[in-house]
């Protein structure tokens, strides 16, 4: 893909949380939630991010929008470094970059009606007269499939699926270009997941959006994404086209992850790659490659040296010493 099509370019993004301090205020324990992530998001695509819970997916998504301040690194939006932006400049950027929250039960103010909730972004930027606001709220509600008569109800009167529609409507009412979907369906009932996923897909087409789609559900990510990034303990292990990743996973972690997808066929015998042990704590992540403690190919080098993300073939990037000699290093 061409460079000028990059909408969001993330370079060396890090986010540390200090969980304990010494008496003098020096950090004692640091959680490396996002650890040196380099990713490009192209205009009009859906980039899926998968990983186990606690691997830093959500923190990654939020730090791109600077809802949590990145500790280090740069984020370029249309070539402009938004990490240098002031608070007010960043606020203005919210018109372009939005977030769809994971839990529609927690992300809607219980004291506001549907109308007030969806109108809030318009209020924040003083867009339009009252009549225009009503018109825009109406339009977006129709687009997400909420009957107009629900406008004056409170969130607690709705089911999870409907609440998530409200959350989506609120995120899209400003017509953003880039939307981070932070596990938008994982809090929902299985029966409404497909509906909401289809809605998200449909809105992307209608509004020409670019998505960063975070999920731990491999089938969901496969369904919505064009490209997929696999995260493990705050680092990106592999990035590739959806089909390339599922047919030809290179990183041992990706291989294990994909082999865990159940196949609905009783006669099928799968070659499961079973990982032993738990995910190590992000407070004291393993040295070298974070995955070496659970990797069956781990060598001495993996324990000491952190592999960089390297391009193998077209658009397929992997961070693993096994493929070192086969590719060239990217930025």
């Amino acid at each position: 893909m061409e460079q000028n099509n990059v909408l969001v370019d993330i370079q060396g993004l890090k986010k540390n949380f200090i969980t304990a301090k010494t008496f003098t205020g020096k950090p004692l324990k640091t959680v490396h939630a996002v650890d040196n992530v380099n990713l490009q998001i192209y205009k009009g695509e859906t980039l899926g991010v998968v990983g186990e819970s606690g691997c830093g997916k959500s923190t990654f998504g939020r730090s791109i929008l600077r809802l949590v301040e990145p500790t280090e690194g740069k984020i370029f939006y249309r070539g402009e470094d938004i990490t240098t932006y002031s608070k007010e400049q960043m606020r203005q950027m919210r018109k372009k970059m939005q977030l769809i929250f994971q839990d529609p039960y927690a992300s809607l103010n219980p004291r506001m009606t549907v109308f007030e909730l969806i109108k809030a972004p318009l209020d924040a930027f003083h867009i339009g007269s009252n009549e225009e606001k009503l018109g825009r709220v109406r339009d977006i509600m129709e687009l997400v499939g909420m009957p107009e008569k629900m406008m004056n109800r409170y969130p607690h009167e709705f089911s999870g699926g409907q609440r998530q529609r409200i959350v989506i409507a609120r995120a899209l009412v400003l017509n953003p270009d880039f939307v981070v979907c932070d596990e938008p369906v994982s809090a929902l009932d299985v029966s409404v997941r497909a509906q909401v996923l289809n809605l998200i897909q449909e809105l992307k087409r209608k509004k020409e959006l670019t998505y960063l789609f975070i999920s731990h559900d491999l089938s969901v990510v496969k369904y919505v994404s064009d490209r997929i990034a696999v995260m493990y303990l705050g680092r990106v292990m592999e990035v590739a086209d959806k089909n390339e990743l599922y047919n030809n996973p290179l990183h041992p972690y990706t291989q294990a992850l994909l082999s865990a997808i159940p196949i609905p066929d009783v006669d099928c015998t799968m070659k499961r790659v079973v990982l032993s042990g738990d995910v190590p704590s992000p407070i004291n992540p393993p040295s070298g490659c974070h995955f070496h403690t659970r990797c069956r190919y781990a060598t001495e080098r993996c324990r000491t040296e952190c592999p960089a993300l390297k391009t193998i073939g077209t658009g397929h990037q992997v961070a693993c010493h096994l493929y070192e000699d086969k590719g060239s290093e990217t930025t």
Partner: protein
């Protein structure tokens, strides 16, 4: 037209009012308090009540014509003193609770929302205030200034700020981490709007309830002060010093008209205010349903 209408009616406060009006005890409490306020303002003018002049012919007279509730040991009309005392008690209760609220809520909000230095300074100050036994502090302050009704309102009010500050601080601490506050930030809402539209509405219900509780408490504190002789000074009447005047065994046993009405009114007022608080709590909870 339609748009205007939608903007006009704030459906949240409408629902709250509706739910509050369906709460029977709260409505009874509110009626009693409103009636008291009304009587206390109107009666002295209409009935030309005089709480100060002694009726020389009737010391400690039992209730009868002329003196509905009798007279006290200096011949003053008990009913008149009760009404004037009600003015003082209600005024002290409401005003000092308002003062506490006005100091405590903004400080608690700042401490909880911005944290950092604000939190450090305000909450430690609250700790210091709370570590003094308030009654003794009030006694000292009242004797340093003058035991007039305004000093009492001021002192009880200022010393009551910690309740509100701690309460709203604790609420704001949990609310600022809620996803809906983050979502407000994500759509570009400014700090001030986040505070007024997201944080305060969700943190305020317990504050309102505490306001009623605080009012009741201030009325009792004033009575206690007057009972100790450090409150409202005679000849000015308050329910507290009416009770103070009735300390002797003979009065308690043989002249109940001197203290029973004041005591009953105190209990009635304080519990009415608490019922209003209960009603508010139910009305402000968006999960309770409006009865059809």
């Amino acid at each position: 037209m339609e748009a205007k209408e939608k903007f006009k009616k704030d459906s949240y406060s409408r629902d709250v009012l509706k739910k509050f009006s369906q709460h029977k005890l709260a409505m009874v409490g509110l009626a009693i308090i409103l009636l008291e306020v009304f009587l206390v303002i109107v009666l002295p003018v209409v009935m030309k009540l005089d709480p100060y002049t002694s009726d020389i012919l009737n010391f400690s007279a039992a209730p009868g014509p002329g003196h509905i509730l009798g007279t006290d040991d200096t011949g003053r009309d008990v009913f008149a003193r009760l009404v004037y005392g009600g003015r003082v008690s209600l005024l002290v209760g409401l005003l000092s609770a308002v003062i506490s609220l006005c100091i405590g809520v903004p400080l608690g909000l700042l401490a909880g929302y911005y944290k950092g230095v604000w939190e450090m300074v305000i909450m430690r100050a609250a700790d210091i205030f709370m570590s003094f036994p308030s009654m003794i502090l009030i006694l000292v302050l009242v004797s340093v200034f003058d035991p007039s009704i305004w000093t009492i309102i001021f002192v009880i009010g200022v010393l009551g700020w910690t309740d509100f500050a701690k309460l709203i601080y604790g609420n704001v601490l949990s609310i600022r981490e809620k996803e809906y506050v983050e979502s407000a930030r994500a759509v570009g809402t400014k700090d001030f709007t986040i505070l007024t539209r997201y944080v305060i509405p969700n943190a305020f219900a317990p504050v309102l309830i505490n306001f009623t509780f605080r009012t009741a408490q201030a009325i009792i504190q004033e009575s206690a002060l007057s009972f100790l002789g450090m409150g409202v000074q005679p000849p000015q009447a308050s329910w507290g010093n009416i009770l103070y005047a009735a300390q002797s065994i003979t009065v308690l046993s043989s002249r109940p008209w001197l203290w029973v009405p004041a005591g009953v009114l105190l209990v009635l007022t304080v519990s009415s205010i608490n019922f209003i608080g209960d009603g508010m709590r139910d009305a402000l909870d968006s999960r309770t349903k409006i009865k059809k």
